[in-house]
């Protein structure tokens, strides 16, 4: 395309070439930054990988004093809190997307979507503040009831501190709800009208049309939205750090304090004194990098998969 300027055999002028190289530099700077980020995380964590090997990922002790580091409690906390957030926000988000795309009049739908997207703009630290002063006391008040009635499950045992995995999952679900809702709504709106009209003409109710036509058609796009939200949840820092309790232990109970990868970075990086501690934290950042990268790739692949599905008969 660089020769696109040379219409009908005209050679590229010097000024044009200079300009092209100038803007190319800006573009390559973006590539350079991404490469530098990956390199930095790799070289900054080499001590941890050479000391502990891949066992770093499944060792569960984290002790800066005795210099024993393992990422498992953080990996577990990140994955479980994100999964919990997804379990709450997924049905809620897809449900409201169905309402906004299929039932609500277009203007109301647009207005609601506008408001829901404002939720995505609320800074994470502000949601954390809400979490500390509303969700934590709330969870503390509700959990004795849950322990009493659902205590036969391992998830609902232990002491209700208020801070812990459940609170973190709740606050994360608030943060990812707007992504799931607004992307799922876009996907559902892209379902071709004739398909829906065909189902309605055959006598299906509107819900049956949603269930049998719209949802199957939009399935990969909605899954993509969910994975995109999961990618966000994995790396969310401030709000989670403020309510999860920051304790590197693995416990099945949702009421127990836990820790996430992002939270341990936020709490310990500024105070990491020994090289090994620093490299272990960098290794955690690198793991988070890879995890998000994978999740986003999966999400993009699924959302991009939607137009191909459209061509299917």
């Amino acid at each position: 395309m660089s020769k696109g300027g040379a219409v009908a055999g005209l050679t590229e002028r010097a000024g044009d070439r200079l300009f092209r190289y100038g803007v190319l530099c800006a573009g390559l700077a973006v590539v350079g930054l991404a490469a530098a980020l990956a390199l930095e995380l790799a070289s900054g964590s080499r001590l941890a990988w050479s000391e502990f090997g891949p066992a770093f990922l499944w060792s569960s002790s984290w002790n800066p004093v005795s210099e024993r580091f393992g990422a498992l409690p953080f990996l577990y906390g990140t994955l479980v809190s994100s999964a919990l957030a997804l379990a709450i926000a997924g049905p809620l988000g897809v449900g409201s997307a169905i309402f906004l795309a299929e039932l609500a009049p277009r203007r109301i739908s647009d207005a609601c979507c506008f408001f829901i997207e404002i939720l995505a703009a609320v800074p994470s630290v502000v949601l954390g503040l809400m979490g500390i002063f509303i969700l934590v006391p709330g969870v503390r008040a509700v959990s004795p009831f849950l322990i009493e009635h659902l205590g036969f499950l391992p998830f609902f045992r232990g002491t209700p501190y208020g801070v812990g995995m459940l609170t973190a999952g709740l606050i994360l679900s608030i943060m990812i709800l707007p992504y799931i809702t607004s992307i799922s709504r876009e996907v559902l709106l892209s379902v071709p009208r004739p398909l829906k009209e065909a189902a309605l003409a055959l006598g299906a109710t509107r819900w049956e049309t949603v269930r049998l036509v719209s949802l199957p058609y939009a399935r990969s796009g909605i899954l993509g939205a969910v994975f995109l939200a999961l990618g966000r949840a994995l790396g969310e820092t401030m709000a989670v750090t403020m309510v999860i309790g920051n304790s590197p232990r693995i416990s099945a109970s949702l009421f127990d304090p836990a820790y996430t990868m992002a939270a341990v970075l936020a709490n310990e990086l500024a105070e990491a004194t020994s090289d090994l501690h620093l490299h272990a934290l960098m290794a955690i950042a690198g793991t988070l990098f890879m995890l998000t990268l994978g999740m986003n790739a999966l999400a993009r692949w699924m959302i991009l998969g939607t137009p191909t599905a459209r061509r299917r008969p």
Binding site: M1, S2, G4, G5, V7, G15, D16, G22, V23, L24, A26, G27, L28, V30, V31, L33, A34, L37, E40, G44, P91, L92, G95, S96, F99, L100, L103, A104, C112, F115, I118, L119, A121, V122, P123, S124, V125, V126, L127, G128, L129, M130, I174, T181, T205, W207, E208, E236, T237, M238, M242, A262, A266, L269, M282, A285, L288, T292, N296, R300
Partner: protein, 284 residues
């Protein structure tokens, strides 16, 4: 028999749609509860002296967030100065010359940066700037925010450049104007409104970021000492105050949160309203 089945299907239909409507109401309720709570708690603690004073020493009640507001403004401004040219010019490359392998790589890198958690970007700035210089600095904070900002500006700018009608560019070229002049004097100015909107959206996003600032700008309870020293920022102040054990600091955290939310949401809403006006409601 058929009647009964039909009735059941209709009941299911009504039930499911009521459920989805309830989901939507729940989503909206969360937003309004949050905003209402912040205004309720924040407004009580907010007054003029809070906005114009420095924080008091630990343990002493009172004090304000003047240094945090100035610090936030400075850090975000430097981030914009560093990030906007790269984002806008990179987008010009992508739009004008980027339909090749290099363009693909740039888009991929931008997507990668866009999806990265902000804390990872903060770790990047920490390793790149704070560790070699052996000091926390506002510069490192701005660099981290700039990296977060670049892919957002890049993507929105490219989108708005695409909306410039080809006839405008062709008119310029037909008059014998060199291509670089056509781009700089015709294409970019006619997309300028959209580009600025994208920048506003990116700025309001990074203004609320605190994760990448914890170990770069670090925070400071006094007026800052220049770019190479720790600087206070509004999100950092909220974080410190919220997790502190002091009642008075909690009160101040709410007030600071209200200021931050007002600024961030104003920027966000303004940008999205402008965008909606600019290119039709469907993809605002």
């Amino acid at each position: 028999m058929t009647d009964a089945r039909l009735r059941r299907r209709k009941i299911v239909n009504g039930l499911m749609f009521s459920l989805t409507a309830a989901c939507t109401i729940a989503c909206l309720a969360v937003l309004f509860v949050i905003l209402g709570y912040i205004v309720y708690h924040g407004a009580a603690a907010l007054d003029w002296s809070f906005l114009t004073r420095l924080p008091k020493p630990v343990g002493e009640p009172g004090g304000g967030i003047a240094n945090a507001m100035v610090g936030s403004a400075k850090i975000v401004a430097l981030a914009a100065v560093l990030g906007v040219p790269v984002g806008v010019l990179g987008a010009v490359y992508l739009h004008e010359f980027g339909h090749n392998r290099i363009g693909f790589v740039i888009r991929y890198a931008a997507d990668l940066l866009n999806g990265m958690p902000s804390i990872v970007i903060g770790v990047f700035a920490y390793g790149l700037i704070v560790l070699p210089m052996k000091r926390f600095s506002a510069l490192a904070g701005s660099a981290a925010l700039a990296v977060i900002m670049i892919p957002i500006v890049l993507r929105s700018t490219e989108e708005f450049l695409r909306l410039v009608p080809a006839s405008l560019r062709e008119a310029g070229l037909a008059l014998g104007v060199p291509r670089w002049k056509v781009i700089l004097l015709v294409v970019i100015p006619s997309a300028w409104g959209g580009i600025l909107t994208g920048i506003l959206l990116a700025v309001s996003r990074i203004a609320g970021e605190s994760a990448p600032l914890i170990f770069t700008a670090f925070g400071n309870r006094f007026w800052d000492n220049g770019w190479l020293n720790p600087m206070s920022a509004l999100p950092l102040t909220i974080y410190t105050y919220a997790i502190s054990p002091y009642e008075d600091w909690h009160r101040q955290a709410w007030a600071a949160a209200m200021v931050l939310v007002l600024v961030v949401l104003a920027g966000n809403v303004l940008a999205r309203l402008l965008m909606r006006g600019g290119r039709g409601a469907s993809n605002a």
